[in-house]
Structure formats: structure tokens, C-alpha cells
Symmetry: C3
């Protein structure tokens, strides 16, 4: 028997099962530097110790998305090796800052299993959790995937769909307990805007574009030790529908988030991701643009230093926002459909300093 693994199929998951993911990872300052080089992020919280400490962080925390991608990377070998598609994320909660030296241990619980109508595949939903070595929860998230079946011809009849919250509610939003945004240095962050300056419905065109290169997205994905085959194997992908390696969706999220610095430079701390969809694939050579809409804003009577903005950031490829001549989403025969140039629809919540 070959000792290498081909990964799990739909039939290999059991409702309620808890999967401990291998390859715990001790993160370092080098992960942060590589993240800058791979994404172009400019949020001062993640690159300046005096800035981070002025907000009450012990040290420079690792960028929330970097932590998310590394934690997510732990789960790929067990969960998504045979995924046909990553359908979405929900309830991503950034519970605690992660610092260089912390070790991420990740496990996942199967919370939904549902065979597709034609019986050819199944939808698997897992709730994942990243803990540090001391046992504190750093990050939790849910995701669901379309999973290949080992035996597509045998019906399983499994039908236990998961229930997912449409948002991380203001009441449950994880706010950094030991931190305060009262002395937020807007000269250092790069923009003067405060929580009060943003209004629901407001749209921010982030203006700039960034082209993705092969070595770059591959290095990013490997830094996260995400070993999904579609990102790495050109020999195999040449005979796929796309003919090319797919850029990891998490890298697309990070590039769009980095672009969003221009207009959202003070939305530095990601508290939650409410939902996310990779609407169309991205390939090396594509140029990404981003624009954000303020969906909602929340404040708390006991936190005069900060409020939260719920944002929806769209990522586009090879088309600046101002040149976009079709709506982001259309309905066709009753089905909602994303524009072909739309690659990311990310609904998330950032903390903003108040005036």
C-alpha cells in the first residue's frame, strides 16, 4: 500500500467528528516581512512597533489575514485536497492578536454534510479553531466546500446541512480587550478619517491595481503551507478547464485588502469576516482592483475609542472600477450571477478609531 495520502472524500467525513490538523506552526517576524513583500500591505499596525504599542498591543501583531491564511493552511491536507470548489466562509472571528513566537494549533469539527441533488458530490461544512500553545483561542471560522465523492454512483442520502450566521453580530464581535484606539496616530497611519466620517452606503474606489505573478502567488500559498494541488502543478492544470494554475483565493483577499489601504488606512484591525466568495478564478498575469462599500457601522457605549465598519470589498480583474460597464451582479433565469471580471466578494468588519 502506498503510504502517501490522496486526501478525504465526501464519504470520509462524519457529522460531529473532530479533526486535529497536523503541522503546528510557530509564526515569526519573517512571516510578517514576507507578507509585506507578497501583498504590498501598508497598514501601520502590522509594521511599526511604536504604533502597535501606542494602541496597547504588546508587540507588532501579525496581520489578521496572514494569521487566517496560515491557520487555514493547516486544514487543507485533511479537508480540501479533493474539494471541487471552496464555496464560502462565514463567522470568521479574530479573537486575540497573534505575535511572533506564537504557535498555531488547528482543529476542525464537521458541522454539516449534505449530498448534492444528483448524488455526484457533497457539501461539507466545518467549524475550525486555531489555538496557541497555551490553549487560548486565537481565531475561529467556518467554511463549506463542494467535495468529490469516492463513489459517485452510490447514494449516501446524507442530508444534514449546517446553519450559518449571516454575520458576526455587533453584540458578539470580538473587541481587543487590552487595547485602546484613543491615541490612534493618524499621521502615522496615513489617513485622517475616523469612524464618524464613514456612512453606510458610501463607496470607496481604491484606485490602484496590482498584477499577480506566478512565483509570487505560489510563494504566498507555500508560506501558508497550503498544499492544495490546483495552485502548484502546471503539468496537471494544463489539462484542466482553465489550463493554468489557480491563484489561491486567500492571496486574492490579501491583495484586495492591501489595495484597500488607500481610503481605509485606519481600518487596520479585522475583527471578523462575515462571509466571502471567490466569484471567479484569478490567474498569474491578471491585474486586480478593489472597491469597498460601507454596509453598516456599529458603536458601543463603553468603547468611546472605536467603532466598527461592516464593509463589502469587491475585487475585480483587468478592469478598473470606473471602466466597469456591467453591474457587479445580475440575475439570469432567476439565478444571481457575478460579473466575469469580479473575483472577490468579501463581507467583513474592521475597527475604526473614533474622533
Amino acid at each position: 500500500m502506498n503510504k502517501s495520502s490522496l486526501g478525504r472524500f465526501f464519504e470520509d467525513f462524519r457529522m460531529g467528528e473532530d479533526i486535529v490538523h497536523a503541522v503546528p506552526r510557530t509564526v515569526t517576524e519573517a512571516d510578517a516581512a514576507l507578507y509585506l513583500a507578497l501583498t504590498g500591505s501598508r497598514f501601520s499596525l502590522f509594521c511599526s512597533r511604536p504604533f502597535a504599542q501606542s494602541l496597547g498591543f504588546a508587540e507588532v501583531p501579525l496581520d489578521n489575514l496572514l494569521v487566517f491564511h496560515i491557520a487555514f493552511g493547516r486544514t487543507v491536507a485533511d479537508i480540501s485536497r479533493n474539494a471541487i470548489a471552496n464555496l464560502g466562509y462565514a463567522e470568521v472571528r479574530f479573537e486575540h492578536p497573534v505575535y511572533a513566537g506564537d504557535t498555531l494549533n488547528v482543529h476542525s469539527k464537521v458541522i454539516g454534510l449534505r449530498e448534492t441533488g444528483n448524488g455526484q458530490a457533497g457539501i461539507v461544512t466545518v467549524a475550525s479553531r486555531a489555538l496557541c500553545a497555551e490553549g487560548r483561542t486565537l481565531l475561529t471560522w467556518k467554511r463549506w466546500l463542494l467535495m468529490a465523492k469516492r463513489d459517485p454512483d452510490t447514494r449516501s442520502g446524507v442530508n444534514s446541512p449546517a446553519e450559518l450566521a449571516p454575520e458576526v453580530s455587533p453584540a458578539s464581535l470580538p473587541l481587543p480587550a487590552g487595547q485602546s484606539f484613543a491615541d490612534f496616530d493618524r499621521a502615522a497611519s496615513g489617513e485622517s478619517w475616523s469612524y464618524e466620517d464613514y456612512q453606510p452606503g458610501e463607496i470607496i474606489d481604491h484606485v490602484d491595481g496590482v498584477t499577480v505573478d506566478d512565483a509570487e502567488h505560489v510563494m504566498a500559498t507555500r508560506l501558508y503551507q497550503n498544499n492544495a494541488r490546483v495552485h502548484f502543478n502546471q503539468h496537471q492544470m494544463a489539462s484542466s478547464a482553465h489550463g493554468r494554475r489557480l491563484v489561491y483565493g486567500g492571496h486574492v483577499m490579501s491583495l484586495c485588502r492591501a489595495l484597500s489601504h488607500n481610503g481605509l488606512a485606519n481600518g487596520q484591525w479585522l475583527a471578523a469576516i462575515n462571509g466571502g466568495t471567490h466569484a471567479n478564478p484569478v490567474f498569474a498575469g491578471d491585474t486586480l482592483y478593489a472597491r469597498s462599500e460601507v454596509i453598516d457601522k456599529w458603536e458601543w457605549p463603553d468603547r468611546q475609542d472605536l467603532g466598527a465598519l461592516r464593509l463589502r470589498t469587491y475585487g475585480f480583474k483587468n478592469c478598473a472600477w470606473e471602466d466597469m460597464d456591467t453591474p457587479v451582479m445580475t440575475e439570469k433565469n432567476g439565478r444571481r450571477q457575478y460579473a466575469q471580471s469580479l473575483v472577490l466578494d468579501l463581507d467583513y468588519t474592521v475597527l475604526m478609531p473614533r474622533r
Copy 2:
């Protein structure tokens, strides 16, 4: 109003104005490792702790050019987003070594403003300064740019050109005060040459060539958080005169400096850059070569351990020095013109151990 910024135009600068640049940056060992991987530098001072400490450095300092590029990167969003061209550098002074853990804060003073003859653009000169969190000046430099006007049709009549020194003079050259080159280990550095071995007029052909790749120059430029659009957006650059992303001139400087190790391995500490010109653009796929000329040499009676060499390093593309069949510079209709294969003309001063 869109909250993202399009950057300043010529009309937005005021003589004497002081601009505090955002995104202070705490540098780490990882910046140094990435710099090695991105440039191929082999100067022992920047990669060996025992070597650095034998010269009196507290730790391995960050490569001077790495520090310069990171400091420079802070200024781009405020200064050069709408630059038509970076015309040159002058009076770059490396005042103090920078170590992992130091934070760079950068600000710039506008010291020259001059509308061009046709009124379509203007030349802006700034004096910039990088300080560590404790307030010590690490690095100062001046640069001038051709800046787009917001309204090219309205004459401003501004005519306050800056005066720039042609060199950082021997008398004012910043020498590392707590360091001594007396025990300079030439087996560790890789060459036996000393200050006394170099003579003005001497030429060193650095022999080797290095090809630039897209992901590489983009990662280098992002590591510096330099967000000038011309380096990143292929979708936009496709319709430019060049049709391609431009390689950041600072990366070209670093590649040529790395090549110069072969023949100048003991010229490790950069004390000053007297002037620099990016004579022609570099694109991914180009192969760079370098050759240096010793312009001058200086010594000080109270420093028996070291002297300084003023060097002029030329960078070429797709043409080794020995195959070059045109002069570096020609005159045509009274105008000096660089050969098309010449990409860099860098005039700088390094410290060299004495015998």
C-alpha cells in the same frame, strides 16, 4: 467624495513645507534575509554577526541600500505618486547603522520648486530624513522629480530651484564613530584588497550578469512599501509607451551593488551617495551587468583603519562591458546622452580598510 488619495501634484507643494510620511517601519532580520534573496548581495558585514562585531558594530547592521529603499518607500505616497520621472538623488548620507528592531520615521522638507519652461510640469526637490524612534538621524537624502501639474494650462510662475552639493565632501562624510576597520578579516570578506590598492581612474569590470524577473522586482519594491503604480500595474502599463511594468530604480541600484562585490568586496559600508541617475528603464527579462570606476580616494589623519573610495558604478543591460561598442555617454546637438544599454550611473562613497 472618494476617500482614497490620488497623490499630490506640483501645485500641492509649498516651499519650506514639512511633510511627515506615514507608515513608520520597524525593520527586522527578515528584511535582511529577503534582501539577500532578492539581490544576491554577499557583503559579509550584512550577513555575519561575528564579522560585524569584529568591526565594532553592535549586531549585523541592515545593508545601507536596504535602509535607503525602505526609508525612500515611506515618501512615495506623498511625494512621487504623480511623478513623471525621478530625476536624481544627491547628498545621501548614512549617518548611523540601522539594526533589526529599529523603527524608521521619515519626513521631507520641500527645498525646491520650479515650473518647467513650457509650464506643463514642475520640478520638486525635497530633503528627506529618516529617524529612529529615539530621535537619532539615521539617514538623510535629497531628490528631485519631474511632477505632473493638476492644471497644466495655468502658469504658476514658481521659480525657486534648489541648490544641491555635487558630492558629500570628505570633510563632512559620516564615518562610523564607534567602529574600527583595524581588524578587518579579508578571508571572511572574500578579497584581499585594501584602500591602498585602489587608484583614481582604475576600472573594475564586475564580470557577472543577473537577469531580473517580474515577481522578484515586485516583491523587492513591496518589501520597501514603495507603492508607485508603474511597478505594479501591468493592466495600466500595457497602454504606456513601454507596454510593461518598470523595475524600481532602487532595485537596479541594489542588483548592481551586489554584482560589484566581485572586485569591491571590501567596500562594504556605504557612507554616502553623491548622485544617481536612472539613465534608461529596466524591465523584467533584462540582464544587468556592472562596472565601476574609482573617481577619488580620501583618508583622514585620525583614521588609520580606513579610507574612502569615491566610485562611479555604471549598470548596463543585455550587454557585458567588454561587448559595449559605444561610449557610455555621447553628445548630440550639445546635449549629453547616455548609451541605450546604460541603466544606472551611481556616484557613491564607500569605506575601505587600510593595510
Copy 3:
């Protein structure tokens, strides 16, 4: 005289000569993070501090191959600038773990010199040693190369071939003295297999493939400060037989080793490399696959915690193992010949936890 070096030729080596290599290197956590990003390695020992410490390591050690490549890189300027081919490695012994902060000093002794039959070139064999600043030997290895002659027309008559051991024997295998694999965490490593589960003759197909990109292999090679020209200079290589830059063989070793995690996840510590051959060149764009054979297995009465597996890992390009329709090696006119898709034949010894 040009002060830059063109490197040594066959005539420049003397039997018994000891060469101290320049550019000592202090390794950091950043080298480890870059190695993950450049190779996709997932061995938990090299990325998790709790895992490393549970085996008795003081900290996360640097991946053995990363250490080997960095140590090897020191020797290139002196040894292999004018190599026509790297013919092989032998007796690579990993004596001590290397941690962030350690400095590698490397020297080589010439142990074999033999002119080729036609007198046009010569085979040079060196024994190299990497020591930390405190003088402890970290790593030793031998390699032999086909070296160009400065003057191919003058016979040297030199004929002192080196003798090389075909393997690092079980009796002399360096076992980590202060470490114990008794508490090896197989949930963390990712596989349940133990020493007892592997049998000589067993074959493991590592299944996955990975495509090499230009910027990636160049960055890896530069991280090791290996400055062999064939990897970097496209302008020069365009007129070579291959027309392209060659991927550094060490990078190929690392990619195949990273692929081997799937099936050999518990073979984390490399004790020795018995021999290695780069059978065919690899270029950017090639996709690598790997499969391993268990050659032998060894145990020691005083080490109940671990045994050793002698493995032979083959690397293939653009051809998965299952699609391979020719034998790995054929004989033609009495000469053994590798299949064209075979790029690496690596014979090495890993330690495995016992049950």
C-alpha cells in the same frame, strides 16, 4: 589588472590544500520562513517550536537541506565558478542541529585531482566542513566536479583520484545525542507511520507535483548566496546549449524532499546523504514529481526511540510516476543512462520514530 575574480580552474587546485571560504553567514528565522515559501516544506520539526522541543531540540532547528545549501553556497566562488558539471555528492553528515543565530564558517580540503583522459578538463574532489562560531562541526560533505582547465592544450598528468565511501555507515551515522524521539507526536507530524512500518524494497509514490518558476529558483539560490553564473544570467545562457538558466540542483533536492512529506512525514531529520546525482537539468516551467524507495533500515540497541531508513528518492519532471513508461535507468552500449525525465537520484538516510 581587473580586481574581480574569474574563479579557479583545474590547474589552480593543489592536493591537500585547505581553502577558507569567504562570507560567513549568521542564519536567522527568516531563512527558515523563506525556505518554507520557496519549497513548500511541511515537516513539523522545522516549523513548530513545541514539536521541536518535545524531541529535545533547544529551539526549531533549521531544515537540514537549508543548512546544506547555505553551507554549500559559501564554497561556490572558490570551487565551482568554472565547473563544467557538478558530478556528485557523498558522505554528507549532519553532525549537529543548526539554530537561528548560529554562524556558518566553511572550509574545504582538496582530496582528489585527476585529469580527464583527453586532458581537456579535470575532476576535483573536495571535502568541506561547516563550523559554527564556537568551533563545533555542524556539517561535513564531499563533492566532486568536472572542472575546466585554464590551458586545455597542456597536459598536467595529474592523477590522484579521491576515494569516497558508498554510504555513511550505520556505525558512523550521526545521531542527535541530546534528542529523543520517544514522544514523537504523530498527530502533529501528520502521519502515523513508524520505523517498523517501512520495509526495504517498499516504494512510496509521493503523488503531488510542483512547478518551478524563475523568480522562485533564483531567490532560493540567492538566499544561499550561491553565485554560480548558470542560474542567474539569461543573457549569457541564451547562447548555451539549453538556451535557458539552469535551476540549482539543491533547489530540486529541496522541492523533491518537500514532496516526499506525503508518505514520509515522520522522516524529518536527515542524518546523512550517501550520494546524489543531478541526472538531467531542470528549467523554470518544469513540474517536478518524486517517488522514494526504502533501500535499507537500521536500528541500534541503545536507541529504542528511533531507527534509520536509507532512502532513494527519484525526482522526475513533467511526468508523474504512474505515467512513466521507461525504466529509471537503462544500459546503452555498456553505459548506464538515466531516463530523460529523471532529474534527481538522491540516496540519503532519515531518522524515524519507533513504535
